[in-house]
Symmetry: C2
C-alpha cells in the first residue's frame, strides 16, 4: 500500500500506568499489521496523567523514547509542545485525537472518568475505556451520547480484560437473549481463595497480588466485592438490558477469617468461590456477588489463581462459557487494541 493512501489516526491517552504503557508497546508492535490490514497509520498526540504530567504534540509524541526512558519519577511535561493546558478538560479539547483511550483507576462514584468520557464524546472523539467506574455508573447516558454524536463508546476491557465478552455477544451471538449469567470476575479474591485451599495464608496471598499490581489501587475494592459488583453491573446493563447499579448489588466480602470456610469446603470435596451472578425475576434483573460453595465439577470450581470465567445462559446456545487464564496487564492492553480494531 502506498504512503499517500494511508489514513492517519490520532490517539490520546488518559492514564499512562502499567496498562497504558503495555498498550503503547502493543501499538508499536502492531504498527505494520495496522497499515497492512486497515491502511491506518497512527500517532499519539497527547498523554495526560495525574502524577507524571501531561503532554500534547500535534506532530506525534516520541512514544518509543518515552517508553524506553520511563522511570517512577518520569515527567511527561518535558515532551509537551503546544498551548498550555491546566486540566484534563483542556487536554481533551486540545489533544487533537480521533480516539481517546481512558485508563484512569476505579473510583466508586465513577468520577472523574465519567466527566472525561462525557467531554470527549461531546467533542466528537471515539472513547475506549478499561475503567468500569464510569461504564457502571453512567452506562445509559454515555451510550446515548455516543449514538447522538455518531462516535463509538467501547469498554471491552472493563470485564475479563481482553477476553471477548461484549464483542462476543455483539458480533458472534446474533439475535441472542441472555437469560442469566454467572462468573468469577475478580482475580484478587480468586487468587486468595484458591491459594488458601493449598495452605497459603490470607496475608501472603494478598501480598503477592498487591506486589504483582493485580489489585485495585485500593485493595478493599477487591476484598469487599466492589470490583465484582462494578463488572456485574456493566454486564447487566450492556448484555441484559437491566439497570442495576453497583450499589443495587448485594455483596459478600472476604477477610482473614475466610480460612475456616475454605477448609470446610475442601473437606466436603467442594470449593469456595466469590461468584457474581445475574438473573431475571418478574421483568427485572437481579445482581448478586456471593461466596458460594460449589460442587467440584462446576466449571467455576476449576477456575484457580488469577483466572476468570463467565458463563452465559442463552436462548440460542444454551450455556456458553469463556475462560481467561492467568491474565496480566498485557491482556488488559489487548482489550484496547481489540476495541480499536472494532472502530477501524
Amino acid at each position: 500500500m502506498m504512503e499517500q493512501e494511508l489514513k492517519q489516526i490520532n490517539f490520546a491517552f488518559i492514564g499512562f500506568g502499567n496498562v497504558g504503557r503495555a498498550f503503547a508497546r502493543l501499538l508499536i508492535n502492531r504498527r505494520r499489521w495496522l497499515i497492512k490490514k486497515y491502511g491506518v497509520e497512527w500517532k499519539i498526540t497527547g498523554i495526560a496523567t495525574n502524577n507524571h504530567g501531561t503532554c500534547i504534540d500535534a506532530r506525534g509524541l516520541p512514544v518509543q523514547k518515552i517508553l524506553r526512558s520511563w522511570k517512577a519519577h518520569s515527567n511527561l511535561n518535558n515532551f509537551h509542545n503546544g498551548p498550555s493546558r491546566n486540566s484534563h478538560s483542556d487536554f481533551i479539547r486540545q489533544c487533537g485525537a480521533d480516539v481517546l483511550f481512558e485508563m484512569s483507576i476505579l473510583d466508586l462514584n465513577g468520577d472523574p472518568a465519567s466527566t472525561y468520557i462525557r467531554e470527549a464524546l461531546r467533542a466528537g472523539l471515539n472513547v475506549i475505556t478499561t475503567n468500569k467506574g464510569p461504564v457502571a455508573t453512567n452506562f445509559r447516558q454515555l451510550s446515548r451520547l455516543a449514538r447522538q454524536r455518531d462516535v463509538q463508546f467501547l469498554y471491552e476491557g472493563t470485564v475479563m480484560d481482553g477476553a471477548p465478552v461484549f464483542n462476543l455477544v455483539r458480533q458472534n451471538l446474533p439475535g441472542t437473549h441472555i437469560r442469566s449469567l454467572r462468573g468469577i470476575l475478580n482475580s484478587t479474591t480468586n487468587y486468595i481463595l484458591t491459594q488458601m485451599e493449598q495452605g497459603t495464608s490470607f496475608e501472603a496471598a494478598l501480598d503477592y497480588v498487591k506486589k504483582k499490581g493485580i489489585t485495585e489501587a485500593d485493595p478493599r475494592l477487591d476484598l469487599e466485592g466492589w470490583d465484582s459488583a462494578f463488572k456485574l453491573s456493566v454486564l447487566i446493563q450492556a448484555l441484559m438490558g437491566g439497570s442495576v447499579k453497583p450499589n443495587d448489588i448485594e455483596r459478600h466480602s472476604i477477610s482473614e477469617d475466610i480460612g475456616r470456610k475454605v477448609r470446610a469446603a475442601v473437606r466436603r470435596d467442594r470449593r469456595l468461590r466469590l461468584v457474581a451472578r445475574a438473573y431475571r425475576q418478574g421483568g427485572r434483573v437481579i445482581g448478586k456477588v456471593e461466596l458460594q460453595e460449589l460442587e467440584i465439577f462446576d466449571p467455576l470450581a476449576a477456575i484457580r489463581g488469577l483466572s476468570n470465567i463467565l458463563v452465559l445462559n442463552t436462548d440460542t446456545m444454551r450455556e456458553l462459557a469463556i475462560i481467561e487464564n492467568n491474565p496480566s496487564v498485557e491482556q488488559t492492553a489487548f482489550s484496547l487494541f481489540s476495541d480499536l480494531v472494532s472502530i477501524l
Copy 2:
C-alpha cells in the same frame, strides 16, 4: 421499515435432517429480527436430500407446512414446482439461491459434499456448511475458490456447533497468533468416558448418545477419533495456517476395554479424556488426538457429558478457553444462523 426497502434473499438446503429442520425453525423464529436488524426478507427456494426427495420453487417453499407435516417417510418431491432435476448438481444450478446451507453427513473422503460446495461456489453462491468433511479435506481449494468468486465460505458449525470459534478468532482476536490449542471436541466419546467414571457401562452410554442422535451416522467415526481428527484438521488449517489433513493426525480410539483405564485414573484423582491438540514444531504444525490422564484441576477434566471445550494459546491473550455446555441440534442450527448474519 417499508416493504419496498426490504432486500430479498434466497436460501437452498442440502440436507434436511435434525439440523436442517432445527435451522428452518430458527429462521422462522428470527424472521422479524432479520427484517428489523438487516432489512432482509428470506425464502427457501430449494431443499435437496438423499432419502426424502428434492424440491425447488422459485416463489419460495411452504417451509412451515413442510415442518408441520414432517414424518419419517415425508417426500419433498411433492412440493417441487419447476424444471426436473436429476442430481444435486442440477439442484445447485437451478435452485436460484444466494446462500447454500450444506448439511450433509460426514464422509471420510469429504465427498460428495466437497463437490457440492465447489459447484455452488463456482456458480456464485455463498456457502455455509456444518460438514467438517469437505472443510478438512479441501480447505485451501474451497477458500481460494470463494475468494476468486467474491463469495463467502463459512463453516462455524464444523467445530463446537454454534459456539464461536472461527468467528471469535477472526472478529475478536485481531492480529493474534495462535501458538497452540487443545480441547475436547467430540461429545460422544466424552459422554462415554465421563459416564463410565460414574459407573455406567460402555454399551449403555453409547446407546444413549446413539438414541439422542449425537453420534455420527456411523458411530465408529466418533469412537475411532475420526470426528475429533477432522475438527482438529479444520482448526489447524483455519486458525494456525497449517496444512494437516485428518489422515496426518495420530488418533487413539476408545472401546469397551477402556473401563479399566477410566477407573485407574479416578483412583489417582485424575480424569481420562480424549484430547485433541495442535502445536508448532520447527515451522510445522502437528496434530494429535490422544487419550490423556488429566489433573483434576485441568479445565478439560471439568468438561463432562456432551460438553466441549477449546483452549487457545495466543500471543495476545495468553490462554483463552471457550466451553459449550451440553449442546443439541439447536446449537448446530445456530452456527448456520450466526454465519448467515456474518454474510448479511
